[in-house]
């Protein structure tokens, strides 16, 4: 797959997202995360597809730490500025939790990300490459838990809505076609 095709495949859904975006005002924490991930995504796109010979030497060592500590910093600073809790965006606000519970959840995520960033540096410098690889893989398993929550509470309801919409359209089309004959 050429870099241009890969970019197009990514940008196209983003265009759809732009067209279908909610018109309500987004919270400041959502904007901060959007800007941060925009920057991180641009870096990934450039160094993953276009830059030769790839990302700066030795950066692979720091990569997970940069992400974890960036997220940890956002999760620590944004609530201090009174801009809400970023964990609501990352985890999804499908649980009716009190502000106090969100605050602690946000602190928990910030702590975990801080620790993961530090442990990554420790493992990358002290352990073998294979062990470091295993550590990074295990960190990705954390994402799986978040994805499973998202799948259950957000994607399946959306899928149900889409299925009902398509069923109604198909039924209407069938009725229309039946009326023609």
């Amino acid at each position: 797959m050429s870099p241009v095709t890969a970019t197009a495949l990514w940008v196209l859904p983003l265009l759809i997202a732009w067209l279908w975006r909610p018109r309500q005002a987004a919270s400041p924490s959502a904007w901060i995360l959007l800007i941060t991930f925009g920057a991180l995504g641009a870096w990934a796109l450039w160094f993953g597809l276009y830059a030769h010979p790839g990302e700066p030497a030795g950066f692979a060592f720091w990569k997970p730490t940069v992400l974890y500590w960036t997220l940890a910093a956002i999760m620590t600073l944004v609530p201090l500025l009174g801009w809400g809790y970023p964990v609501k965006i990352i985890l999804g606000a499908y649980f009716a939790l009190s502000n106090r519970e969100w605050r602690w959840l946000n602190r928990g995520f910030a702590t975990v990300y801080t620790i993961l960033g530090g442990v990554n540096l420790l493992v990358a410098s002290k352990a073998s490459y294979k062990d470091w690889d295993g550590f990074k893989f295990s960190c990705m398993m954390n994402l799986l838990i978040i994805v499973l929550f998202r799948l259950n509470f957000v994607w399946l309801p959306i899928l149900a809505d889409v299925s009902i919409y398509l069923y109604r359209r198909a039924t209407a089309a069938y009725r229309y076609l039946s009326s023609l004959f």
């Binding site: 991930f37 990934a44 992400l67 009716a96 990074k136 959306i158 809505d161 919409y165």
Partner: protein, 430 residues
Amino acid sequence: MPSVERKPENIVRLIWPGGRSEQVTLDATGKSGGAGEIFSINSKPGFVAKIYHATTSQAHLASYWSKIQWMVDNKPALPQVPAEYQDIVQLAWPEALILRQSRFVGFAMQKIAFDRTLELDYLLNRRQAADEGFDADYGRLVTVSFNLASIINCLHDKRIAIVDLKPMNVKVYKAELYVSILDCDGFHIATDEFRSDAPQVTPEYLAPEFHDKAVAHPEAQDRFALATIIFRLLNYGIHPFTGVGSDHRHYPPELAGRIKQGLYPYGKVAHKSVRKVPASVHETFPDSLRDLFDRAFASSGYSRPSAHEWVGALAIYASKHSGQMSPCSKGHLQFSGRPCPSCMRDELIHGAEVRRRSFLAQVQTAPARTLKYVKQTLRQTHSSPFQAALAQAQFTLVQLAPPAPISTRNAIALEILWISGLLITYWWTR
């Protein structure tokens, strides 16, 4: 009379020790082994003849001839048996050469009464032994072990070794408990005046140092095989190198490999890499026997206990008057001062069976019990106060938030952004 008996090749000449000869006729019995075929001897009901197969090479026949000739002239002294048991054959030893037209073809040996005996192999499985009419209690098993060790001790005194010693080559008199060793023409002989090797071995009974090489010390090999047979006799047929690999180390699937690596899990000091099988009762054996087993399986060569040592150790348990074997509360014979092996075995086997049945019953009745529990909860008719309290308890669960007031398109747009964030996270953490 079958026509085969009238064939000229069935008329042979027996040459007894001292040179006396007589002409006899052989009758086919239909029994045949790897080396030869067994015939009954017409005028000698107490003897049978082993005639080597016609395909045996001349060189092998010549070797057999000299070996059998020596054996006929040098029958070893065997353990004394009481006068009323004089018809017991403890060794299928060659008693006479058999010549056909002056050519050596086999030998005559005393006939073992097969109706009074059973293979020692049967004693390794209590049910098989019972089917053959043998009540394998510990007193009888110790006596059989003692008698086997006694014969081997006599052979070793004469510098004769069995080498291919295994349960299939040993017969046990069901009532008298004496043993009879077969295939004597395969023994190893190393006297000053005569020497003959024994190339045949069985890997499951072969000492670790002789795997993949010739048996350099036949008596050491017999010591290992004897200890293995005694261990199996006393431990419900469990081979001393049968175990359960206890770590990720490669555990050989076949016994020969385990013997070779010395993976003996029944020692007084536990082996690091292998565990005993749960059904083993070796812990009920007296220390004197356990020490001998440990020496037999955890050492090598002549440091293994000799047959003479086994005779000494087993004698007190084989004697009814020593008081070293006593009945347990259920009437099984046990080593005095030790737990009863039969009761322990019953507990291990039947206890596991009871637990298995109980578990299956619980699984099978689970749906009915669940339904009953639900009904009782709905009707609030729990008889147990604890269950009643549990059924009425209020649990604080996390409540789901009301759906966000956005359209499906808006939701899809947000999820596209979220998934993009997920992919970016993946790139940064991979």
